[in-house]
Symmetry: C2
Subunit: 262 residues, 2 copies
């Protein structure tokens, strides 16, 4: 069955590896009969900085609380048009593919600013105004899938289980778990192209084929096995039950199978 996929991408150079892979994503998904929508953050000149201009009608003019104003603007449709438009795209999408170069082990600022501004209170967090009731598997974006497609300057070995940078999936946990899964999306294992600075025609070809293969599984591959908040393993919604994975602390404790995260 055809699905709608939103591609959010962040590289201003049309000839960059990131943008080459964006084209691969579009072409592959369209060839599979899917509908593709796009947020070209540099091309759109996306406003990265979340500030008071994002609230057209303030709840409290005397003191800016982002949570309060975000919740009010979302509930009362007083968000800016650019934020509303991105939320509408997100809500139509069955899957979201984020394509970006890994800068300082995270999103480029323009993409972080897309999350900061678009992931409103009442939608992506504080869903239904119910505090922490819906998060980590439930929430405004549940039923959707997410895939990160990243280009990485350093070599693969630097990001392995014993690589000096820390393993890639652990580094991306604030994004995959903390942003995507938090708001309800199921997140696929990251697709990464390493040594992106030294890439040759042969390795571009390999990267393209690797991505095409992954896109075939966009709606069928097994997601990262993050534990759902409301699945019974977090009885008080704050901490993991003491009898669950008692040998793990931190990131690894929040996966039913930590294999891909070492």
């Amino acid at each position: 069955m055809p699905k709608t996929v939103l591609i959010v991408h962040a590289h201003p150079e049309p000839r960059s590896l990131t943008r080459t892979l964006v084209e691969v994503t579009k072409t592959s998904l369209l060839a599979s009969g899917h509908r593709v929508i796009e947020s070209d953050l540099y091309g759109m000149n996306w406003k990265a900085v979340f500030d008071s201009d994002d609230f057209l009608k303030r709840e409290d003019e005397s003191r800016l609380s982002f949570i309060r104003e975000s919740g009010s603007a979302y509930a009362n449709a007083t968000q800016t048009p650019d934020i509303q438009e991105e939320q509408a795209k997100l809500l139509q999408a069955d899957a979201v593919v984020f394509q970006f170069p890994l800068w300082w082990f995270g999103f480029p600022a323009i993409m972080k600013g897309w999350i900061d501004r678009v992931f409103a209170y009442g939608l992506a967090y504080g869903y239904k105004g119910a505090g922490n009731q819906y998060r980590y598997g439930d929430g405004g974006f549940s039923g959707k899938r997410a895939l990160l497609s990243v280009t990485v300057g350093g070599p693969r070995e630097d990001y392995g289980a014993r690589g000096i940078n820390g393993s890639l999936e652990q580094i991306l946990f604030p994004i995959t778990h903390g942003s995507m899964f938090f708001s309800g999306m199921e997140v696929l294992p990251t697709f990464a192209v390493y040594s992106a600075g030294q890439i040759t025609d042969a390795t571009v070809d390999l990267a393209e084929r690797g991505l095409k293969e992954r896109l075939k599984g966009l709606f069928t591959d097994t997601p990262i096995p993050f534990r759902h908040q409301n699945g019974g393993e977090y009885p008080d919604r704050h901490q993991l039950a003491t009898d669950i994975a008692p040998e793990h602390y931190g990131i690894l404790a929040h996966l039913t199978d930590p294999e891909g995260f070492l």
Copy 2:
């Protein structure tokens, strides 16, 4: 001996907890005889997005490579004045205090964009144009200290060793290890104020006292025990030697003592 401290902060509301804590930092450090310089990112209207406008004289007009252009602009003094100014502040500083609200488990976009743009090739990475030779403990910012001071919406228990968000220090690893320690700074354990949305006069007072205490140790406290790349534990500069902490994978392997990171 008096030192110079750079405070980089990111909250537009002067009455926010973040900004209250910025004032505490200034006052405390000045009272201790230190010199304080400041980068008020919202106040400065800091340009968050790293793009082609940041390179006044391009090496290659036909294709934008950030690494190449950053290296060239840094080496040839063709960076933009705003980037040069921030680098000059950084180079004067003996310590840098980053004060920000934790948004989606990371920097607000405006602060991520400060890193993206200011941490140039040749200075913060690719130091001396020598590839990966100087990083993780060595590099352009070695001899400096860094401290993150974050305000966090959720309660402390959500960020503990078994807290649902993952432990705070693991979440911040891309910043502390991947950005600050990478470029040579010694990084202190994070100072965090939790439940920042529900804060009362009594808890503000507690937060202020806690921060003052931590600032007293800015130049004497023991930093996070990240392993130095060139200390012998990464013989090939890529992977941790097999006999070092063989029981650990990912983030925890890169600390000589993982206690504070569980």
